[in-house]
């Protein structure tokens, strides 16, 4: 009798048990999504608040003392000057390859008239900032993230507090300024090198005279595009240094938190790069539409 009862119960209660388990799982999943969403939103707000704080300090003249200036110079040296040989080689190589491929495809499709527009619209305003940001993010953003995380773990930030040294002024501001300056200047440099190598390769590959090449570029060049490109570079420079600083600050007292903070920081840096790219494209299309 008891066996029969157990068998019946198992037979009739099985769907109910499954439903119950499904309900629990769904609730947990929805809770998890909500928690993640709230966390992401809170993190975004924190980052925004931090960015505003840094921006406000950036326009405060009193923040720029000799120590800050020295740190800024050192940061520019490490971020921009040291990377120059590699950067210029990459720019010349990439420029030659990209211009060669673009030119060949345009000739193949019978659209060589759009060569100048592609050079200015794609290579200068999109490709140059993207490659520059990618190189600087891989080299310097990760370094800044690790540096801040190590300082946090070693309690060097606390020491600076004890000595009443403003961490934002002394540590963060020069690095962020360096990021902005480096990205803007290096992007322009990248564009100039790419266009110069394009001049050589156009003459070699497409029998294009220097005068024709310059004319094609000038016809397609717009000041508004270049201004938007510079603003985009500055924004990217700001965020690719600020986000690693923010995530470096999140490191705990344990050494193992350093790689975790670098990992999160770099992932967010790349997300920020993508968002800024998309926003800049929208802004450029709006400018083309209304101006």
């Amino acid at each position: 009798m008891q066996t029969w009862y157990k068998e019946r119960k198992r037979q009739y209660d099985l769907p109910f048990v499954i439903l119950l388990k499904l309900e629990t799982a769904m609730t947990t999943a929805i809770e998890q999504i909500g928690r993640s969403g709230l966390h992401a939103f809170s993190s975004f707000l924190d980052t925004l608040a931090f960015a505003i704080k840094i921006l406000a300090r950036m326009f405060d003249v009193r923040a720029y003392n000799s120590a800050v200036r020295m740190v800024l110079i050192n940061q520019i040296y490490f971020t921009s000057v040291q990377i120059l040989p590699l950067f210029l080689t990459v720019a010349a190589g990439f420029g030659a390859i990209v211009i060669g491929i673009i030119g060949q495809y345009l000739i193949h499709l019978g659209l060589f008239d759009y060569f100048g527009q592609l050079l200015m619209g794609f290579v200068v305003t999109e490709f140059a900032p993207f490659i520059t940001v990618l190189l600087i993010a891989l080299r310097s953003s990760s370094a800044v993230n690790a540096e801040i995380a190590v300082m946090k773990v070693n309690k060097e930030l606390n020491t600076l507090h004890v000595f009443r040294i403003d961490v934002i002024n002394y540590l963060f501001l020069p690095r962020i300024l360096c990021g902005i300056l480096s990205i803007v200047l290096l992007s322009w440099l990248f564009s100039i090198v790419v266009l110069t190598s394009g001049l050589i390769f156009s003459a070699l590959l497409f029998d294009m005279s220097m005068n024709d090449y310059v004319t094609v570029l000038l016809v397609s060049a717009n000041f508004s595009d270049l201004i938007v490109m510079s603003i985009k570079c500055a924004t990217m420079g700001f965020f690719i240094v600020m986000i690693p600083i923010r995530y470096g600050m999140r490191a705990t007292d344990e050494l193992t938190s350093i790689p975790v903070s670098v990992l999160h920081g770099m992932v967010n840096v790349f997300i920020a790069i993508m968002i800024i790219e998309v926003v800049s494209l929208i802004v450029m299309s709006l400018i083309e539409k209304f101006i």
Partner: protein, 310 residues
């Protein structure tokens, strides 16, 4: 080290900034940003399709742009067009300003000048902007076609209503066709369907049988004729044999005739020799006569005149 770093950073910043400024300056110079500009005023009936910054094209080249747009007291759209002085030569008093609105794509603001010798367009004068609207033109062109299409649909409607009318012609035709097909479906063969009479069909069958018999007889006759003409002992092979023999005999006669021709030519030549011989004999006889006469004159005393012949 610090000085070296500062120097390097400074050099990097200064050189890069100089490069950027040089590039921008060259671009600005080439784009004519530093060049003085002439401002011209144009009026238009409507501002639709016009916008500030819109480029002005001459022969496909951008020579200026719209700087201002405003509505006058009279309701006309007044616009200021800025053109660099190097392109001012294309702006003449009889230049035509056109706003082209294509069917597809954005409007294009162009100026055309046919007579470059006419007086230059002054900043005070107000030129008129005309509008070429491809959409309106297309609608105007399509309008007659649409009217024709409306007529066609009207006719089609009338046709269909006539077809659908139970008392209409089409209904009568269909009724007749139904009756015809009904009567045809009751017949045994297509011929009967066509003739409508079974006796006639039988007569046609008999006539066809007779025709078949006649053709059989004709066929036999032709076979016999063929045998007599082309058989082994037929007329045609015999005639061929006779003709061949005739050809051989004719060849022989030809040879004989050739020999006769040769003989006649020889005889002709022989008769020519006889004439010569005759003349020579005549000459000799004459000379003997002369000799006898001479001897008679010279020796008259001989009692028996005797002449020894040569």
């Amino acid at each position: 080290m610090a000085l070296k770093t500062e120097w390097r950073v400074g050099l990097f910043i200064v050189l890069t900034v100089l490069l950027i400024l040089a590039g921008l300056g060259y671009m600005a110079y080439k784009k004519g940003i530093f060049q003085p500009e002439n401002t011209y005023t144009l009026s238009s009936r409507t501002g639709d399709g016009l916008s500030v910054g819109m480029p002005l094209y001459f022969s496909g080249f951008k020579i200026g742009k719209i700087a201002e747009l405003e509505l006058s007291d009279k309701g006309m759209v007044m616009m200021k067009v800025r053109v660099p002085t190097q392109h001012a030569k294309w702006m003449r008093s009889d230049s035509k300003f056109v706003l082209e609105k294509p069917l597809i794509g954005s409007p294009k603001f162009t100026v055309t000048t046919t007579n470059l010798g006419s007086s230059p367009l002054t900043s005070n004068s107000i030129a008129i902007l005309t509008e070429v609207n491809d959409i309106n033109d297309a609608i105007q062109n399509i309008q007659p076609i649409l009217e024709q299409v409306a007529m066609i649909t009207d006719n089609v409607e009338r046709l269909t209503s006539a077809l659908a009318d139970p008392q209409g012609d089409m209904s009568h035709i269909l009724k007749n066709a139904r009756e015809l097909t009904g009567s045809l479906s009751s017949k045994k063969s297509v011929l009967e369907m066509a003739l409508g009479d079974e006796k006639s069909v039988r007569n046609i069958h008999a006539a066809l049988q007779n025709a078949r018999n006649i053709t059989d007889q004709v066929d036999q006759l032709l076979k016999k004729t063929d045998e007599e003409l082309y058989g082994k002992d037929g007329i045609i092979p015999l005639a061929i044999k006779i003709l061949r023999e005739l050809v051989i005999n004719l060849g022989k006669i030809g040879k004989t005739l050739d020999n006769v021709t040769k003989i006649s030519s020889n005889a002709e030549e022989a008769t020519k020799d006889l004439k010569i011989f005759r003349s020579e004999v005549d000459t000799t006889v004459n000379s003997l006569n002369r000799l006898i006469n001479e001897l008679d004159q010279k020796i008259p005393f001989k009692s028996e005149p005797k002449i020894k012949l040569p």
